[in-house]
Amino acid sequence: MRFPLLGAALLTTAAILALLGPALAPYDPKLVTGMPLLPPDRAHLLGTNDIGQDVLSEWLWAARASLLVAALITALSTILSWSVGMVAGVWRQAEGPLMALADLLLAIPSLLLYLLVVTLIGPSQRHVALTLGLLSWPAFARIVRAQVIAIRGRTHIESARALGATAYRIAWVHVFPGTVGLLPAKIVLTVRFAIFAEATLAFLGLGDPSIQSWGAMLGWAFAYPLLFAGRAWLWWALPPALSIVLVVLATTWLATGLEAVAEQRPS
């Protein structure tokens, strides 16, 4: 029972950092303010990176970038997949082509698809968010559609139709609420997917190099060939790594809590 609260607390802290972070940062993260690879000291609480930029300032700005991207992707993916799933479930004509498109997208290895797209349109943060959001709808759309079909078959829908309700009304009033329960799981999974995907792409050198996200910080760190030859990884790579893990954990805990609450409410 404690964990969901802890999760909520962590996420709130993260949101605050994301909003206020840049104001709290002691330096402009893009400026070189010290010698490269300095260990933490009073001037640089988290030391400096391989070209002498302040790691703490970088980390704070990165919080905003990472969380913003994750939020964007989650929003885009959720809205898109939910709408597609609903439409596919309610309108018979749309179901075929939509599900066929979903199948095609699911068949193609997503990372490879992303690599191609990003090389075509460039790896800016917008493109990252857009592409990842657009690529992650098929799986959840199918789940929503399955749920919609299940609900459709229930008797009160039949009666509503018999009474002359339009498809739109059926969808909004009857089917829509029935699918809300699927949301917490979807959101958690998508936040996790978004943060992981962004970090992995940055790690592989394929993200947006002008935006400092936690994944980008890790990408630069691991691209430095002598990272593990010294102790620099402790203050340069560990903080962004831990942040990623904590945010995902917090989301998971919070979602478990929400699910437990939903289970207790009468349907």
Binding site: A100, D103, L104, L106, A107, I108, P109, S110, L111, L112, L113, L115, L116, T119, L120, R192, I195, F196, A199, T200, F203, L204, L218, F222, F228, A241, I244, V245, L246, V248, L249, T252, W253
Partner: protein
């Protein structure tokens, strides 16, 4: 049945066409790519005549439709083209790398599905402290992106402890006079090299199986037939294995099938960190080099993997349904 086959056939055709088009829409010329460190003879002195020759050889000077016809013709003959950057048949390159990716991913998948499902089953069945611990561990693991797990294992076990090799799928040449190159030793050598990459994958994917199995078992915990079974005098183990566990089978198998289909997408992160010469790494290198033939080959293989497995699964379900119903 015919509709089912028709649907998957249409999907396969769409995949083939898409795979041909996508790499060709990229900007960048394959003959001009440089190695990221700037050391590439192609950039220092590739003469104009050489470039023209290579271009003609790889059909790059034909219009797009002409390239498509050549592609389809080659495909029909099992010819996947010639790699521009590595001067070898694309089919050979893919063929060499395929066993590595398959071996690594299928092994990891089997281990993580079996271990994960058993753990999930146990946690749901016993409940209480065990359940809580398993849940916490699983969520903890699921919160770590794959590349972090990979780096952590590399640092801990290869760099610091020196228990495992730093890179590669095997000791490439049996050059040490003391090393025996016969197949049992080669197998051990490969296993030694692939332990850390496989462990990374297992850690990254078990959590899903734990949760799925646990969820499935929990949903039947209160079913009356379990009480009946207990009343009949069956032991806990028997009740668990005969009545509760089979419920988990379907969702676990679905997940397994889904993951299996994705295997050919390659474990690109793990392959990069540990330098395992698999398909994921090949795809990454080919994109940088604009190596069209190799890209097409990898895409084709990867994209046809999921529908093939799904098709097989659907056939299996139908057969199961017919038997049960």
């Amino acid at each position: 049945m015919a509709r089912l086959i028709g649907r998957y056939l249409a999907l396969a055709v769409a995949v083939v066409l898409l795979n041909f088009l996508l790499p060709r829409l990229l900007p960048g010329d394959p003959l001009a790519a440089a190695a990221p460190d700037g050391i590439s003879p192609a950039t220092s002195t590739l003469t104009v005549q050489a470039r023209v020759q290579l271009r003609a050889y790889y059909h790059l000077d034909q219009p797009l439709f002409g390239q498509l016809l050549s592609y389809l013709n080659d495909l029909a003959h099992g010819n996947l083209g010639w790699s521009i950057s590595q001067a070898a048949p694309a089919r050979d390159l893919v063929g060499e790398r395929l066993p590595w990716t398959l071996g690594l991913l299928v092994t990891a998948l089997i281990v993580s599905s079996v271990a994960g499902s058993l753990l999930g089953l146990l946690a749901a069945w016993r409940g209480g402290q065990l359940d809580q611990t398993v849940l916490t561990l699983s969520s903890g693991l699921a919160a770590m992106p794959e590349f972090l797990t990979a780096i952590a294992l590399l640092l801990g076990f290869a760099v610091a402890l020196r228990w495992f090799p730093l890179h590669g799928g095997q000791t490439v040449f049996a050059s040490d006079p003391g090393r025996n190159p016969d197949w049992p030793h080669a197998l051990v050598d490969v296993a030694w090299h692939l332990t850390l990459p496989a462990l990374t994958l297992v850690l990254a994917t078990s959590a899903a199986f734990v949760l799925v199995a646990r969820g499935a078992v929990r949903s039947v915990l209160t079913e009356t037939y379990l009480t009946t079974a207990r009343a009949k005098g069956l032991s806990e183990t028997q009740v668990a294995s005969r009545h509760a566990a089979p419920n988990a089978l379907l969702p676990v198998m679905t997940l397994f099938g889904l993951r299996l289909g994705q295997v050919l997408g390659g474990a690109i992160v793990v392959e990069r960190v540990f330098a395992v010469p698999g398909l994921g790494l090949l795809a990454y290198q080919s994109i940088a080099a604009r190596d069209y033939p190799v890209l097409q080959a990898v895409f084709l293989l990867g994209s046809l993997g999921v529908p093939t497995v799904n098709f097989g699964l659907e056939l299996a379900y139908r057969r199961l349904e017919r038997r049960v119903g």
